[in-house]
């Protein structure tokens, strides 16, 4: 808004636009490989069992089958956090867990071979939810995790990784409170972020210890790092990213499927592709963590928080890779939205016999808040307070702070988001519509309207390390070396904009390397909302470093000081005297100018999004329709208007707002089978049911990088679910306790049907 930029903030055609609309953009499954074999996974029909015997003789005699691998054929390679999950094990821990891997000349032959592998199991008792997993004497998912409690903390967040929040004196806090609320709420419907492209990898093994993988990963460089550890630090991985058909965080955890391709390629000495089907994607790949909290909240009459105390139960499924990280981030995020002097928030990570939970947009915070905000609502209801005012009041402001993932306290140096929230409330008409707790805004026959509000903020905008090179070409060109796979946000095109802005050269004179770990420096990947500030900073720093070098070259040629020079369109000139100039070409075609940029973590700022929702409940059928959504945020500086709008509209998809209305993964808690692992039975929002949406975006400059911008995309899914629960409860006039607000739950809350619905069993009604 303020600054006058040549490219930043302009709607400019995405670099991959033509490829996408013509079908030329190459996703993993579109790549061609010579001599390629196809890998398939033999999966367990049991939720918990020991593999007593595997007979692969019939499968091996099928023409075209090149190898069959079981746990007996491979070394003790492990992943997960802690690193305790074998790629192939003699025990299976969920329906769909891997039993054997097959490589064959065609997919059909590999599939046929899968059916020819005979497996003898000893079936074990299993646990499918938090209660049964924590019950005394419960069957153990891992012998090394007594009580099915997974150790907290993750090594990548350091030795003091945040494992909970302890601060001040909660007894004193509760004594000071005017109202205290207490309750247990869950967000246990394990929705699936569900990118349209499923998960896969192609591996090409090279003796004795090298492998190249092409994957669907949204963080290719981190796969190199993860797989290095999985393969006992004995394998050198080159990781190449492709166009990614949606990730939403989940494609940060492709390591298992990649490992299958690597093992099969090593066994066959041929390129092997493993691409899991949509059914496998939905039944065996990562879900949101299942979250439940029992907590007490102390609040003063004016909404000031005095104490938060509770235990957060997190069901991670059969293993964890990022769950401890999600617990750390989620806890910090709760502090960001609920500024309070006294805390005692514990957590317990529980292993159960279903497929694993993993990174998903909202990364712990969405799950925790969707469970916690209803308890906060009970306090606000008791005190008779407007939730918009109280969520605004308690969100971190300059002068506030929070513990973050490394266990350190950070004083917040971002902006006051109140202005954006006020603007959102005004656009939504909150003040006019709010009638008080459990009161509908309008009643028309059997239809009742209700409104709700939620908020979320994440300090991950400055998380983790990024590195980039920018190389200048003597002809006035530049090349960005960066390991980013485009997964839909348009950020690759934004990095081109940033470099073009720094160097003042046309966009079309800038190239970018593929995301190839052999070519680029380290990159954590566009996860969370770190793309704009963290990755952007590395790219900007690299461009500025390159610019500094070429100005030094120009200073020598023009016999002046670099500080007196600037450059535009491949020409270096004396500021104020553009006639005194020299072209970049003067560096000669036998010289490389290579700028290096790095971003080191900065947890002192967070993003913020407030979502206002209006729902209409049909009291006859129990159906809840989303009528209107207003998202309010401040991003410092818009880089790409249409891309930003798309990210904010993403609030519905990827297990976001709709996870409060109709999205859920339905786990049969008797057998451990997921019964809606297909795109017909798993409900998703269609074009025919689009609510009215408005995105309010302010641009208050941030002390981030030279364009004063921060990222927002990740969190757009997160404020919505609790807002919907609030809105539906207000419409109905009674508290709804569970996600999603299915017709059955609505009718039950209206007293129209009996209470034989099973509580805490998300979806199994």
């Amino acid at each position: 808004m303020g600054a006058n930029y040549r490219y930043i903030g302009k709607a400019i055609k995405r670099r991959d636009a033509e490829g996408i609309v013509t079908g030329d953009a190459q996703y993993l499954d579109d790549l061609q490989f010579q001599n390629l074999l196809h890998g398939k996974v033999k999966r367990s029909p049991h939720a918990h069992a020991l593999i007593k015997k595997v007979d692969k003789s019939k499968a091996l005699t099928l023409p075209g089958v090149k190898t069959v691998l079981t746990w007996e054929d491979i070394p003790d390679y492990r992943g997960g956090t802690p690193r305790n999950v074998r790629i192939l094990d003699k025990k299976v821990r969920c329906v769909g867990d891997v039993v054997a891997l097959v490589a064959a000349t065609t997919e059909d032959i590999a599939e046929e071979a899968i059916d020819l592998i005979d497996v003898e199991y000893e079936v074990l008792p299993a646990v499918f939810d938090i209660d049964s997993a924590l019950a005394p004497g419960a069957p153990l998912v891992y012998d090394e995790f007594p009580g099915n409690i997974v150790p907290g903390g993750t090594i990548i967040y350091g030795p003091n990784c945040l494992k909970g929040v302890v601060r001040g004196d909660v007894d004193k806090g509760f004594a000071e409170a005017d109202v205290i609320s207490e309750g247990t709420f869950g967000y246990e419907n394990i929705p699936n972020a569900l990118p349209p492209e499923s998960v896969g990898a192609v591996a090409v093994w090279e003796e004795p210890d090298k492998v190249t993988i092409w994957g669907t990963s949204q963080a290719p460089y981190m796969d190199k790092v993860t797989l290095f550890h999985v393969f006992n630090r004995q394998v050198e991985v080159r990781s190449i990213g492709c166009q990614v058909g949606g990730g939403f965080g989940t494609k940060f955890t492709c390591w298992q499927v990649e490992s299958y391709a690597i093992l099969l390629s090593r066994a066959t000495r041929r390129p092997v592709k493993v691409m899991i089907t949509k059914e496998e994607h939905m039944a065996t790949f990562v879900l949101r963590v299942s979250s439940r909290i029992h907590a007490r909240v102390g609040m003063k009459k004016d909404g000031t928080l005095t104490a938060i105390q509770g235990t957060w139960y997190v069901d991670t499924g059969y293993y964890s890779f990022t769950t401890q990280a999600q617990v750390a981030i989620g806890s910090g995020e709760l502090m960001i939205m609920a500024q309070c002097p006294n805390w005692d928030l514990k957590n317990i990570i529980v292993a159960t016999n279903r497929n694993a939970s993993g990174a998903t947009r909202g990364f712990g915070g969405q799950e925790l808040k969707s469970s916690f905000i209803p308890i906060l609502c009970l306090a606000m209801e008791k005190a008779g307070l407007d939730p918009f005012e109280i969520l605004k009041k308690n969100f971190v402001k300059p002068g506030g702070g929070y513990y973050w993932r490394d266990g350190q306290w950070y004083n917040f140096r971002g902006i006051d988001y109140s202005k954006a929230m006020d603007k959102g409330a005004e656009t939504f008409g909150w003040k006019k519509k709010w009638r008080g707790w459990l009161k509908p805004t309008a009643v028309n026959g059997t239809k009742r309207r209700g409104i709700g509000v939620g908020v979320h903020g994440n300090a991950d905008i400055g998380e983790d390390v990024s590195e980039a090179y920018v190389q200048l070409g003597y002809n006035g060109t530049a090349t960005i070396f960066l390991c980013v796979a485009e997964h839909g946000t348009g950020q690759k095109s934004n990095y081109v904009k940033m470099v073009a802005e720094v160097l003042q050269i046309p966009l079309e004179r800038i190239s970018m390397t593929p995301a190839d770990s052999l070519v680029t420096p380290f990159e954590f990947g566009p996860v969370g909302s770190r793309g704009t500030y963290a990755i952007g900073s590395a790219v900007i720093n690299a461009a500025e470093d390159a610019k500094r070098q070429i100005l030094e070259m120009g200073a020598r040629k023009l016999d002046t000081n670099p500080e007196d020079l600037d450059t535009a369109d491949g020409v270096i000139f004396v500021k104020g005297h553009p006639e005194k100039n020299v072209k970049w070409r003067a560096m000669g075609n036998d010289r490389t100018i290579l700028g290096y940029g790095r971003f080191d973590p900065d947890f002192t700022m967070c993003n913020c999004m407030m979502s206002f929702v209006e729902v209409e409940v049909d009291t006859e059928t129990g159906k809840v329709d989303l009528i209107r959504v207003v998202n309010a945020t401040d991003v410092g500086q818009i880089i790409d208007p249409p891309g930003l709008e798309g990210q904010l509209n993403g609030c519905f998809g990827a297990a976001g707002i709709d996870s409060a209305i109709f999205e859920e993964t339905i786990l049969d808690r008797r057998t451990g089978h997921i019964v809606n692992a297909n795109l017909i039975d798993y409900k998703w929002r269609t074009f025919a049911e689009l609510p009215v949406i408005d995105n309010v975006v302010l641009e208050t400059p941030f002390p981030s990088h030279r364009f004063h911008a921060i990222g927002i995309g990740e969190i757009s899914t997160s404020p919505g679910p609790s807002a919907v629960l609030m809105a539906a409860s207000n419409a109905v006039g009674a508290w709804l306790y569970e996600y999603p607000v299915t017709p059955g739950r609505v009718l039950k809350s209206l007293g129209k049907i009996g209470s034989n619905l099973r509580r805490d069993q998300g979806g199994t009604e």
């Binding site: 349209p196 939403f248 949509k278 709008e645 074009f687």
Partner: protein, 178 residues
């Protein structure tokens, strides 16, 4: 799940047969059977387009007729290529996303250009299916209402939520000459 191979029947029953497809204006005569480059009885049209003809622009997501990613136009109508066996398409005329460019000039189809101009995609995986569904609609009904566009696209799964941009892009074409 993939249809299981029944090798004996496919090979013997159809070994001397061919089928003819007209794809993007080009005629393909394909052997029926398990010869290289042939069509087996269980091959879906999406598989044949991608793996046999190399037209990778058609995407496969659910492979089960639920998501619309594999939509192509056959005899003027939008069809789900993952739910059609190729051997059922003998003599049919098919247009895929690769066939939309103007064959003379190489220019993008106006609808493709509208998707570019409105950034009507994020990850882009569902985009070819969205464009083919919209194209079939516009061919049959050049000036649809917004409701008709939404209805036509209601079988197309998009998880990034580019729906609003897609509707704008399609309506920009639908409104032309109204």
């Amino acid at each position: 799940m993939a249809v299981k191979k029944t090798k004996q029947t496919t090979k013997r029953a159809f070994s001397a047969q061919t089928i003819t497809l007209m794809v993007n204006g080009q005629v393909y005569v394909l052997d029926v059977g398990d010869s290289a480059g042939g069509v087996e009885s269980f091959n879906t049209l999406s598989h044949t387009l991608r793996e046999t003809l190399g037209l990778k622009g058609t995407k496969i997501s659910c492979d089960n007729g639920a998501c619309g990613a594999c939509t192509v136009i056959m005899e003027g109508k939008a069809v789900l290529s993952c739910k059609i066996l190729t051997i059922e398409c003998d003599g049919k005329s098919i247009t895929t996303i690769e066939g939309l460019r103007n064959p003379e000039t190489g220019d993008l189809d106006p609808l493709q250009q509208a998707f570019v101009d409105h950034t009507a995609f994020q990850c882009g995986f569902c985009t070819p299916g969205m464009i083919m569904t919209s194209k079939a609609l516009l061919n049959q009904n050049p000036h649809p209402t917004e409701e008709e566009v939404k209805e036509a696209l209601s079988g197309n799964f998009c998880r990034c939520i580019s729906h609003y941009h897609v509707v704008r892009a399609v309506m920009s074409i639908a409104d032309k000459g109204r």
